[in-house]
Amino acid sequence: MSALLWVVFALCGVSSTDGVLELRLEGPLSAVHLDGVRVPTHVIVDLAPAEAITVRVPWLPINPGDEPRLGRVDGEGSARVEVLHPSPELAPPSVMRRPLPRPVGTPPRVPPVAWWLFSGGLLAVFAARRRPIGVALVGALFGLVLVVLPVSAPEKPVVAVLEVGPFGAWWVHVGAGELHPPSGSHPALETRPEGASWEWLVDVSDPASPHGFARTSPGTLLVARAPGPAEVSLSEKGNTFNALQETWRRSSAGEWTRHGVWDHGAPLPAAREGGLLPTWLRAGAPPGAEVWVGRLAEAPPGAQEAWVRLIRPGGQ
C-alpha cells in the first residue's frame, strides 16, 4: 500500500497565527512532516499497522504568508489535520524586553574513560619496561587509542529565569543547540542571532505525554517562554517562593547587597561580602526600581541552572 498523503487543510477560517494542532494518525507511521510553517516541523510517531491515534502538536509556528498543511508522511499509514486551536497566551512585551540569560559552557574536560585508559597505559608501560622497544610501542598504542577515543563536545547548560513583575511571572528558558521547552511555551519567538534556522520536533511516540523540542546549530541560542507560578513573593519579611542558593537585592537607591542562601519561608539573611552576579541579571531594571535576584536551589525540568528576577518598579 502506497503512502497516503493528505494535502488538505480544512481550517480556512483560521488566521495565520501560531496555533496548536490536532492530527489524526493511522499506522504504520513513523513521522509526519508539516509544510506552511515558519520552521521545519516534524512529528515523530511510532504507530503499528491498524493503530490510530489523535495527537496534539503542542505548538505550531505557522508561516504568516502561508497555510499549514501536511507535507510528507513516513510510512504506509495516513495523517490528517483535525483541528487547529489558537496558540496559548503570548509573553507580554515587558518580559520580551528583559535581558536574556546567557548559557556559559563549562570548559571541556578529559572524560573519566580517558583517564582510566591513561592510567592503564602508564601501568602497561611500567609492566613492559624490560623491553626498550616494546615499552615505546605500548606507550604509542595507548596514546593512539586516547587520540581516537570519541570526544565529548563542550555542553552549554540550559538556563531558565523566572521573570517577575507587574505582568505576573514568566519562565524564560535559553539553550544552545537544543531546547526542551516547558509545555505551553513559544520557542520560535526568538533565536540568537535573530533569524537563525532551526527545526521543531514533536515526539508523540508516547501519546499520553507528547513533548516538543527545538533543534538548531550549536552556536545558536533558542528561547522559550511559558507562564510561571501565579504568585512569587520576595521581601525582607520572607521568601514565599522557593529555596535560593544565592540572593542579591538592589534597593530603590541602586545599591546591591548579597544575602547568600535564603531558605523558603525564612526572613531575609543579613548582607555579606563576596559573590559575583552575572551581568545579564544586573541589567534591565529601570532606575528607582527594587530588584531581587536569586539562584534557585533546584532547576525546573529541562534546565540545568535557574534564577528568579523580581523587578518591582519604584513606588509599588
Binding site: P107, A114, F142, G143, V147, P154
Partner: protein, 207 residues
C-alpha cells in the same frame, strides 16, 4: 662468573624511569586538569603543544653514561601523555588536521631526540651530542629568547636562524599559535640522531 655478569647487566637495564620524567608527568597532568589557574594561563592554546614542549625537552636531555634510569620508559609515558593531550585538544574544538600537524613532528622529535640521547650514552659521542644539543636544541634558542623577547635586544639573523631550528622553539611557537613548517627542526633532530649513529659505527670499527 659469566652468568653473574650477564645478570648484573640485565638488572641495570631494567631501571625505573628517570625522576625528571616523573616530574614532567606530574606537570603534564596538571596542564590537562580543569584547574582555574591553568585555564587562565593557557586559555584555548594547544595542550598537546605544551605537553610536547615539556616531553621533547625532557627526552632530549643528554643522559649520564653510568646511569641506570630507563629512558625508554620515559618515552612510553610521554607518548601516553601526548595522546591524552591530543584528546583534550580535540574536545576543545581543535581541528583533527591541526592536531595532526602538531602531533606527527612531535612524535618524530621524541623518537629521534630520545634515540640520539640514548645512543650517545652507549657510545663515545656523549660530548659531541651534548654540544650539538646545547647549541641547536636548548642553549641558543633560550639565549635568543631571553635577549630578544625579554631583553628587547636586536639579535643577528644567524642567531635567530639557529634558534628557529630548535624543535623546542618550534613547539613553543605551536603553543603560541604559530603555523611554521617543521622541516628545519626535523633536520636538526635527524642531525643529532645521525651524529650518534656515526659514533656507534666508529666504535664498532675501533673494536
Amino acid at each position: 662468573m659469566e652468568i653473574q655478569e650477564k645478570v648484573a647487566f640485565d638488572s641495570s637495564r631494567v631501571g625505573l624511569p628517570p625522576l625528571i620524567s616523573l616530574l614532567c608527568l606530574a606537570a603534564s597532568v596538571a596542564l590537562l586538569l580543569p584547574l582555574e589557574a591553568v585555564e587562565e594561563a593557557l586559555g584555548g592554546s594547544s595542550r598537546l603543544a605544551w605537553c610536547a614542549l615539556f616531553w621533547v625537552a625532557i627526552l632530549s636531555i643528554p643522559q649520564a653514561s653510568g646511569g641506570s634510569a630507563s629512558w625508554s620508559v620515559g618515552l612510553g609515558i610521554g607518548l601516553c601523555v601526548l595522546g591524552l593531550a591530543a584528546h583534550l585538544d580535540l574536545s576543545l574544538g581543535a581541528d583533527a588536521k591541526e592536531v595532526w600537524s602538531t602531533g606527527w613532528p612531535t612524535l618524530l622529535f621524541s623518537v629521534l631526540l630520545a634515540g640520539a640521547a640514548s645512543r650517545a650514552r652507549e657510545t663515545k659521542s656523549t660530548e659531541r651530542h651534548l654540544l650539538l644539543w646545547f647549541v641547536l636544541v636548548l642553549g641558543v634558542p633560550l639565549f635568543a629568547h631571553t635577549l630578544g623577547q625579554w631583553g628587547g635586544v636586536q639579535l643577528p639573523a644567524w642567531i635567530e636562524f639557529i634558534a628557529s631550528a630548535s624543535p623546542l622553539d618550534w613547539l613553543a611557537g605551536r603553543a603560541g599559535g604559530d603555523e611554521a613548517e617543521p622541516w628545519l627542526p626535523l633536520g636538526v633532530s635527524v642531525l643529532l640522531f645521525l651524529s650518534t649513529a656515526a659514533s656507534g659505527s666508529d666504535k664498532e670499527v675501533a673494536e
